[in-house]
């Protein structure tokens, strides 16, 4: 446990108060780049070189990493394998989390058939829908259950993550149900904001927002050229 995350000080003081949102968004990016380095057979990297690759500054990388622990070695740099393992640990890749998909529409089906869960150590254990035609069917070997049986299912199975790919209008009540049933995280693909909950983390995707940002950028391009 030593030299590991969250335990830089001796006391029982909360040592991981607020990771800034920016650091949080960079963590998976570090994960990706380190994996790439590993795949390329590169086992040693300096903050300077990694910074160049990622279009960051060396300072920023060292600051980011040092927030979680001392993973490097003066005069040497970082051991890619070790650093990757640490980042994986921080991101909970080894936690064997379980997930279910709520709403088997086009997007839910696409998610079910993708390897996004598997490749990050997450076990997709079930799908839920309310449609008679879907209930009982299978997608990629995962059974589609009646959403009415959600609570019963979650009594028997530990579920960490619920993927919300249902109609926007059902998002908020469903979030409440999931909270009561004891889910730990909601991955929200609807365009509805989920009110803050005490013990459930929510990650919003907001694809529509992302598309609109792109449109904004495109619009700016032209206005730039015109001036």
């Amino acid at each position: 446990m030593s030299n590991s995350t969250y335990d830089k000080n001796e006391m029982g003081v909360q040592n991981n108060p607020v990771v800034s949102r920016q650091v949080k968004t960079r963590l998976p990016r570090y994960y990706r780049y380190l994996k790439e380095l590993l795949d390329a057979g590169i086992y040693r990297i300096s903050s300077g070189k990694l910074a160049k690759m990622m279009a960051l500054t060396a300072s920023q990388i060292r600051q980011d990493l040092n927030y979680f622990g001392c993973f490097g070695q003066q005069g040497y740099g970082y051991n890619v394998k070790y650093l990757f393992a640490q980042i994986s640990e921080i991101l909970g890749v080894n936690d064997k989390l379980t997930a279910v998909i709520i709403g088997v529409g086009n997007l839910g089906r696409a998610m079910a058939q993708s390897n996004i869960f598997l490749s990050r150590g997450i076990n997709l254990i079930a799908l839920f829908d309310k449609s008679e035609e879907l209930i009982g069917k299978e997608i990629s070997g995962k059974c589609i259950y009646d959403i009415e049986n959600l609570e019963a299912f979650m009594k028997d199975h530990h579920v960490d993550v619920a993927v919300l790919t249902l109609t926007s209008s059902q998002a908020q009540p469903m979030a409440k149900r999931l909270e009561s049933a004891g889910v730990r995280g909601i991955w929200n693909f609807t365009n509805v904001e989920i009110p803050k909950m005490k013990s459930v983390s929510v990650m919003n995707v907001y694809m529509g927002d992302s598309l609109m940002q792109l449109c904004f950028d495109i619009r700016q391009q032209t206005s730039d050229e015109n001036e």
Copy 2:
């Protein structure tokens, strides 16, 4: 054109230098909330009330909006209809942009069948894939073309946005092709970073990163409780 975007000063000086990324991410959020207000029949809102709704500060909202122009009225607040129209204009909702989907896998198909484009004023005009089995078929009334004919198609049709929903390994070369063919924006659903291009805006979704951030948050929950 007066009182509109980008023209606060008289000279031909670039008046829209760098919209901070944070403002940019908030714009579609304003769009969503204003639409909600309109739908609810609310035609007048103060920065204070809107701030409460959106969990921002009134100052921030006024700063954000004032970056683009003076949309409010002292003593009154903002006219929701007018403000919504302005934000729509800024985001290019009325620009009648066109889009194509590159890669008709599960996700590509899901996107094609969704109303995400239509609801934001974007016209999805074609799908592309390399699979013999898919070429010539239709999804939601949109034809699937041979990816080999991409350049020919784009000579005949103006394409603003390309949605990248193909295999990660093909993402970078495809981005280059799209650039040469004259696309203005790439909406990237692969987990591969697209190298910066001169005249193409790129918006990355990185679903995997989003999922990992959620896992991180979940992990923190427990570590918080333990302390």
